[in-house]
């Protein structure tokens, strides 16, 4: 079943009289449990595509359906709620709240929704961190964690609300190759175990074999697809 269905999506920015086409008639589908790597040089539109898929930006044209919600025409307020309930994000840098422990960084998701699940939330946060190999690091602040551990906490936060879709923005760019590969391995196993769809933006071709397929994007156009052999 399709979790993300983007059809003919265009995103155009106007700057003065000039029009800049960031995304041109992009069509992508991602199914349950499928991991798609989005590969392209900087400025190719991969950030725009990810932002539109996650409800951070609205498309100029085209439709975006995520988990059955057509979010193409959502207001900013609706999008905020949509993101909170349906999408997980892992960003490349300023990611965790620096003054909260690993456990609390997961619970932030709960707090932002205004409905604290209390004990249930805590139990879920602990279970997730355990799964991610951070059982002993729950009470540590981000500053006391390594880069790889921080990214694992961010993955835990992205999964906290059981989203249908998780978006990764260059999750390994700040990590060395070995740690980066461990994190990718973890992403793959977590997504597969939960049957969660994922898009991973990267410009590192070494990471693409962790995805089920790779979509190339150049100048706002989706060019070719490579299916990875697993």
């Amino acid at each position: 079943m399709t979790v993300l269905d983007m059809r003919d999506v265009r995103k155009v920015y106007t700057s003065g009289d000039a029009e800049i086409v960031a995304l041109d008639h992009a069509t992508v589908q991602v199914d349950h449990g499928e991991i798609v790597a989005l590969l392209g040089p900087s400025g190719s539109g991969k950030t725009t595509l990810l932002s539109i898929a996650g409800g951070l930006l609205t498309p100029t044209e085209g439709t975006v359906v995520v988990g059955g919600h057509d979010i193409s025409e959502y207001s900013p307020k609706q999008l905020t709620e949509f993101r909170r309930e349906n999408v997980g994000f892992v960003f490349q840098s300023v990611n965790l709240v620096p003054f909260l422990t690993a456990e609390e960084n997961l619970l932030v998701v709960d707090e932002l929704g205004g409905s604290t699940r209390g004990k249930d939330g805590k139990a879920r946060a602990r279970q997730l961190l355990d799964e991610l190999g951070l059982g002993r690091r729950m009470k540590n602040l981000p500053g006391q964690l390594s880069g790889g551990e921080r990214q694992r906490v961010a993955i835990g936060r992205a999964l906290f609300n059981n989203p249908k879709l998780v978006l990764f923005d260059e999750p390994t760019s700040a990590l060395d190759t070995k740690i980066g590969e461990q994190v990718m391995e973890l992403i793959r196993s977590e997504m597969k175990a939960r049957d969660t769809a994922a898009i991973i933006v990267t410009h590192d071709t070494r990471m693409t074999h962790y995805a089920d397929r790779t979509v190339h994007i150049v100048d706002g156009r989706l060019e070719s697809e490579t299916v990875e052999a697993h």
Binding site: L57, F89, V94, R157
Partner: protein
């Protein structure tokens, strides 16, 4: 919300500078307010203590006790005016007085009365005796002392004390009208008063007393309420206006400090706010956190400032007219809170403008 509280608790050092500055400003506000209250209360006690509805001045006095003279004839007219129930004469004279055993003379206001102010016996003391304001205790006056008033050294024996009745920063000594007249005439021969003359009349009654009295005397009197009389005392209005001006200016500084501080803090957090908005935080929630932090900083600052002000007040010499009243604490607290909320509101625009999409595609 608890995000904002956790930040305060775990990173208190980030808020120390603002808290210290605001604490000093809170102390300053309490100090200024306390001085204003001290001056006001010290100037107006004798009038605020009057248990009357209106006070009648002669028309030419332009609401000054010093210039006012009411004759026996005018008094009879006022007594006959519509709505008037009770009339008493009142007169003040400001002088220095020798206190037994003290090298410095005390500043006294000899006040002759008929209708008793609050705390003063209904029946005026015997001639040559007086009830002194507590303020005179600081100047060495105690019960049984005979003070020698003015250059003529008119003797007045203190037979009791009363609280909060000082007049123009001088301790009042309440005496009967004849004693007042003899002190006035002996020490201020240039402003001597005849036997049936008083400075003003204190009147109790019903209805529109001011109009009925001033009509009855055909405009020879000018009648004020007690509150109006208080404000007509020399300097009171000006002191109030001056101090309030300084207090409001200080509040503007508080506003600027809070505004600037939380703007800077918000600027530092823009990246984090981008991430939080991306994962579903609303602008309202983030902004409420900023306001909550500002309010808590203001509350802590007020507490520290209040302690500093109390400590300073205790260390000050008795001559400084500083009075820290509960009402002043409440109004300063409210002023700080309002300034904190308004000041932090400056950050609203910045929080609003944070684009959740900024979280993607940015490296630190």
């Amino acid at each position: 919300m608890s995000l904002a509280l956790k930040e305060l608790r775990r990173r208190p050092s980030r808020f120390v500078v603002a808290t210290v500055v605001l604490s000093f400003l809170a102390t300053l506000l309490l100090f200024l307010g306390g001085l204003l209250d001290g001056l006001y209360l010290g100037s107006t006690g004798a009038i605020r203590a009057q248990q009357a509805d209106v006070i009648v001045f002669s028309e030419s006095a332009r609401d000054s006790f010093l210039r006012s003279r009411i004759t026996g004839e005018q008094r009879a007219t006022v007594e006959a005016a519509e709505g008037v129930d009770e009339v008493g004469g009142l007169g003040f004279v400001l002088l220095g007085a020798e206190v037994p055993g003290e090298s410095e003379p005390a500043d006294v206001a000899i006040a002759g009365y008929e209708v008793a102010p609050k705390g003063v016996p209904e029946e005026p003391p015997a001639p040559g005796e007086g009830i002194a304001d507590d303020r005179l205790r600081d100047q060495g006056v105690s019960e049984g002392d005979t003070i020698l008033v003015g250059p003529a050294k008119s003797p007045v024996t203190i037979v009791g004390f009363v609280n909060d009745t000082s007049y123009l920063q001088q301790g009042t000594v309440w005496v009967d009208l004849d004693t007042w007249r003899s002190v006035q005439n002996a020490n201020r021969p240039d402003a001597a008063v005849a036997d049936d003359v008083v400075q003003v009349l204190v009147v109790r009654g019903t209805g529109d007393l001011a109009t009925s009295i001033d009509t009855a005397t055909a405009g020879a009197t000018s009648t004020l309420t007690v509150d109006e009389t208080v404000l007509a005392l020399p300097g009171v209005k000006q002191q109030k206006a001056t101090f309030n001006q300084i207090i409001y200016s200080t509040l503007v500084v508080v506003l600027a400090v809070v505004g600037l501080f939380f703007s800077l803090l918000t600027l530092e957090r823009l990246g984090l706010y981008g991430v939080l908005k991306a994962i579903g935080a609303s602008t309202g929630r983030l902004f409420r956190g900023v306001v909550l932090q500002a309010v808590i900083v203001a509350i802590v600052s007020f507490a520290v400032g209040a302690l500093l002000a109390l400590a300073a007040a205790a260390a000050l010499p008795a001559g400084v007219p500083l009075q820290l009243t509960p009402a002043r604490f409440v109004s300063t607290f409210i002023g700080l809170l309002v300034a904190a909320v308004l000041g932090s509101a400056v950050s609203l625009r910045k929080v609003l403008k944070v684009d959740p999409a900024s979280a993607i595609g940015t490296a630190s």
